[in-house]
Symmetry: C2
DNA sequence: CCCAAAGAGTTATAACTTCTAACGAACGCG
DNA sequence: CGCGTTCGTTAGAAGTTATAACTCTTTGGG
């Protein structure tokens, strides 16, 4: 989460306690969901009384916001590592699914049901944009090897490409990155939510099929092995 | 929600109070999310003390389960009405989006972040299957007019078609119904969660593009007007 | 019609939760 | 070695879910 080797002893201790709180928080979230997260319960498990935690987190929302921040950072790191290995769009898709399956509630903390009042802090939206940027990079790289056919939506995206920032992606790449996100999230979120549970088919194959469809069957760059199924 | 014209006066009164509780519950969920739903607050708004509501709902979870049940029923009714009008797959897609935008938290109550411990009651999964059945019907009807090309996934689905029940859909129709669900849910859930908010493009056009892609551009049956955008 | 049973709503209470306030003790910087 | 900052404590307010016990009303059977 954070490196403990900085600042004064007190700061290091503080960072250590904060990390331990977050560790217990993730456990609670994993077993009972974010709604059931209790500062009191965490304090007791750490062997101290409830109000002590308020020295480390202003309130429950700040702890959850911090967890969301960490989740975003971890996802960005995962995608960045995979992108650095030049794994291609399908490599990113695999990394995303693994990351999500590794801790479904962490995925839902980012992409799940929003709390009506809640507004994400600016830095998390920045990380979100960075992730999108890496997907855009991969989409452009894939388009060089195999051109992506144009769609009717491309025109609209060409006119509304503010979300891509300064990225020089072609309209078709914008669309590809966007549908990469929506299509994989569609399968992944329903799988993680257990909506496929009694249905019998293998979600991994559906995910692989969607990945192949959205990448145009591009077998990745020169990075790790493709392995469509699992 | 339920017809008040049945049973004894007491039963009718009971049903009336239950409906009023649910009405207030939906308001709370809409403005603060399901996690913030408070039986106490509902009771006070209805002019009675907290424990009185326990005459009508065993506990908070039972109320939420009942809301989920109602949401499923309402979605099934909406889809059924649209399917009866022979609106085609894209008609169902439009109906789904309208229904979701009408009350995002209601959509998320069904398709949003799951609570780790929670298991859906049997009747809601039955309704879910009924909805899937109607999508399958529409997919088969569309395939008669315009054949759907086969995909690699079809073979797997042909071998694992238990979820389709007795439905005689061809493997390609199974896949089409499944991706209809996952692709539209992918766009819709991210839109409802506000993930597209600062991005500039029109989610309706993205949804329309995904609808057209998944239906193969079939301009519906003979029902209501198609109207792709909005 | 009458009366007992059933049901509705009440208050009191327990066991939780978040979060503030006030206090004492320990830590570590100068 | 001090002395101020920081930490952890207990006390307590205001919420929550949920149960128990009690009162009052409604209802249906004799």
């Amino acid at each position: 989460m954070t490196e403990p080797r900085t600042g004064t002893p007190r700061e290091r201790y503080r960072a250590h306690v904060r990390d331990e709180v977050k560790k217990h928080a993730w456990e609670q979230i994993g077993t009972a969901g974010a709604a059931a997260l209790s500062l009191n319960a965490i304090a007791k498990r750490m062997g101290m009384s409830g109000p002590a935690l308020y020295r480390y987190f202003a309130n429950r929302d700040e702890l959850i916001t911090e967890l969301i921040r960490d989740a975003y950072r971890d996802l960005a790191d995962t995608v960045r590592a995979r992108a650095a290995a030049d794994a291609g769009l399908d490599g990113l898709a695999q990394a995303l699914r693994r990351w999500a399956l590794d801790d479904p509630q962490r995925y839902f903390l980012i992409y799940g049901t929003p709390v009506p009042g809640y507004h994400a802090p600016e830095d998390t939206t920045r990380i979100s944009q960075e992730i999108m940027g890496m997907v855009l990079d991969a989409a452009c790289a894939a388009a060089e090897q195999r051109p992506v056919p144009a769609r009717a939506l491309d025109e609209h995206l060409a006119e509304h490409r503010a979300w891509a920032g300064e990225h020089p992606a072609a309209p078709s790449a914008l669309r590809q990155a966007l549908t990469f996100w929506t299509r994989l999230h569609g399968v992944l979120s329903l799988e993680l939510a257990g909506q496929f549970s009694g249905m019998g088919f293998d979600p991994a194959l559906l995910y692989a099929a969607e990945t192949e469809a959205v990448t145009g069957g591009t077998p990745s760059g020169h990075g790790d092995a493709p392995r469509p199924g699992r």
